[in-house]
């Protein structure tokens, strides 16, 4: 069926234009003098120098990393037990997975905006806390609101990834462990947990990556003063029109993401057992 082969060629041209060239443009502009087009050929490292010499930008980067790491940890702490419970639910686990997936189909912006009312000073959450004699606490425009918004949006990814690796596990491994005298905690720590490392690793990637680059969650729940690296990139392109600095920022962000993904994958290789 060689005649079908040519059917793939238009797409090869299409992705070269709409995927490869845009990526090359980002790299080219990151090394171009501000305000000039890349093909005028003015190579510079000034965009990177500007970033690393300005304490404000370093602080923004550190805050983005802190928020993303915090989000990832919370997702892991909530996601693992939830995925574990789903994997143990037997026949109902398909239904439970559907329940977890359903909200992810709804617009992230819509779901994030829903928290604005709940987190207000006189909102639902403060009313609930009031029943226990706590508060009212200021929640909007804080780290708490931003991390909560991110956990809300990205937790399903963590649950689904961990559930996939847990459900692939052969239950006879646990029987073997208990036959060999392991109690439930030992069996979990030495059999289940190591075997779910691949799921944990891809879960971490799927949460950390959008968390570190998000810009509308901090804007909606953190307010205009709450700036993460995504917000700086947005303003470089849509407000100040500085493509060169914006591209350099995205390149720095992409490198950090790739580096952290590389490190998490190593964790997988060192500790995990391929299932």
């Amino acid at each position: 069926m060689k005649q079908f082969r040519s059917m793939a060629y238009p797409y090869v041209a299409w992705i070269s234009v709409l995927i490869v060239i845009p990526m090359l443009l980002i790299i080219a502009y990151a090394f171009t003098v501000e305000g000039t087009a890349f093909f005028q050929g003015q190579f510079t490292l000034a965009n990177f120098a500007r970033f690393f010499s300005d304490a404000v930008f370093i602080q923004v980067l550190l805050r983005s990393l802190r928020v993303a790491i915090l989000t990832t940890i919370v997702c892991l702490l909530l996601g693992y037990p939830a995925a574990y419970a789903i994997a143990r639910a037997g026949k109902r686990s398909t239904f439970l997975i559907l329940v977890i997936t359903l909200p992810t189909w709804i617009n992230m912006l819509v779901r994030t905006y829903a928290w604005v009312g709940i987190l207000q000073d006189d909102g639902l959450l403060n009313h609930l806390l009031g029943l226990f004699g706590i508060g009212p606490l200021q929640m909007m425009y804080t780290d708490f609101a931003v991390v909560l918004g991110m956990v809300y949006n990205f937790l399903p990814f963590m649950i689904l990834e961990i559930h996939t690796s847990l459900s692939k596990m052969d239950p006879s491994f646990l029987e073997a462990a208990s036959d060999l005298g392991a109690n439930r905690t030992q069996a979990f720590l030495r059999v289940t947990l190591p075997m779910s490392v691949p799921g944990i690793v891809s879960g971490i990637t799927l949460v950390f990556l959008p968390a570190v680059s998000s810009f509308f969650i901090p804007k909606l729940l953190g307010g205009g003063q709450y700036v993460l690296i995504g917000n700086v990139i947005e303003s470089q392109f849509l407000t100040s029109g500085n493509w060169s600095f914006g591209s350099a920022l995205s390149l720095i962000m992409a490198i950090i993401i790739m580096l952290s993904m590389f490190l998490t994958r190593r964790l997988d290789r060192n500790r995990g057992i391929d299932v």
Binding site: A8, I15, S16, R111, Y113, L209, I233
Partner: protein, 269 residues
């Protein structure tokens, strides 16, 4: 070993599910609120829906979201299907190169894909608006469509097309009557992913659109700068539409299966 009725993991799962659905329910409830407040429900009213349907900006955004999502779904599904079939007959290096490039928009943060496309359209002097929005949507949807069809194609017998040709079909008939029907489940789920990805997209649309062309996500984003309860009405509409699409897509295969079962029964009878 004593088995607890409600182990901690189940409690956490229940809490997580409540956490996922609480804001959705909250939005739907407050879309019927009679006052502007986002925190106090003062009575049932449809005023935010009236406001939504009477605002031409809102109606245009909803219309635009549908037009782009439907066109992007059709185009990316067709392009994706044709390419996957073509690629399966191509050399391995070309296949893996396409796979790697396809991974870029999936692995990259949306904002990186978005600024790349923004700079590309501006460099090519394509003015921002409907065309750029649609091109961008097809560009980011197609890799997902291909990802959903490829595993299906791998399970196909590679001799299927040759068998059809031996039986006297021309290549197009072989494609249309032998290969495509076998890929259908993958194509349908790919189309569903494309539709919801396009319908829900904010980041990429926000960067590549202009000249007043906006979708629901961009509208919600610009409106959210101040407390605005009509967002809740729009959100409820989005929730209803997406739920309807999901039910529809899950029903179609069921109805088809039932029809097929009935046909089989009639044949054997």
């Amino acid at each position: 070993m004593k088995k607890k009725k409600f182990p901690l993991t189940r409690v956490i799962l229940a809490a997580v599910i409540a956490f996922f659905y609480l804001p959705i329910v909250y939005t739907v409830v407050f879309s019927f609120n009679s006052s502007r407040s986002l925190t106090h429900f003062s009575g049932f009213s449809l005023r935010w829906y009236e406001k939504m349907f009477s605002s031409s900006t809102t109606m245009n955004a909803i219309w635009m979201t549908f037009v782009v999502a439907i066109l992007a779904t059709i185009l990316s599904t067709i392009i994706g299907t044709i390419t996957v079939i073509g690629l399966s007959k191509c050399s391995r290096p070309l296949r893996s190169a396409v796979g790697m490039i396809n991974d870029l928009p999936i692995m990259n943060p949306d904002i990186v894909t978005a600024i790349g496309l923004l700079m590309f359209f501006a460099t090519m002097e394509i003015s921002k608006g409907f065309v750029t929005l649609l091109l961008a949507h097809v560009a980011f949807c197609t890799p997902y469509v291909m990802l959903s069809i490829t595993p299906r194609l791998r399970t196909l017998d590679p001799n299927l097309a040759d068998a059809a040709l031996d039986l006297g079909a021309n290549p197009w008939q072989a494609l249309w009557h032998a290969i495509i029907p076998q890929l259908m489940p993958g194509i349908v789920s790919g189309a569903l992913i494309a539709f919801t990805m396009s319908f829900d997209d904010f980041v990429i649309s926000y960067f590549v659109t202009g000249n007043g062309v906006q979708n629901i996500s961009i509208l919600v984003y610009t409106m959210s700068k101040r407390i605005n309860p009509s967002i809740n009405a729009i959100s409820t509409l989005v929730i209803v539409i997406i739920t309807a699409v999901l039910i529809l897509f899950n029903l179609i295969p069921m109805i088809r299966d039932r029809a097929m079962a009935r046909r089989k029964k009639e044949e054997t009878a």
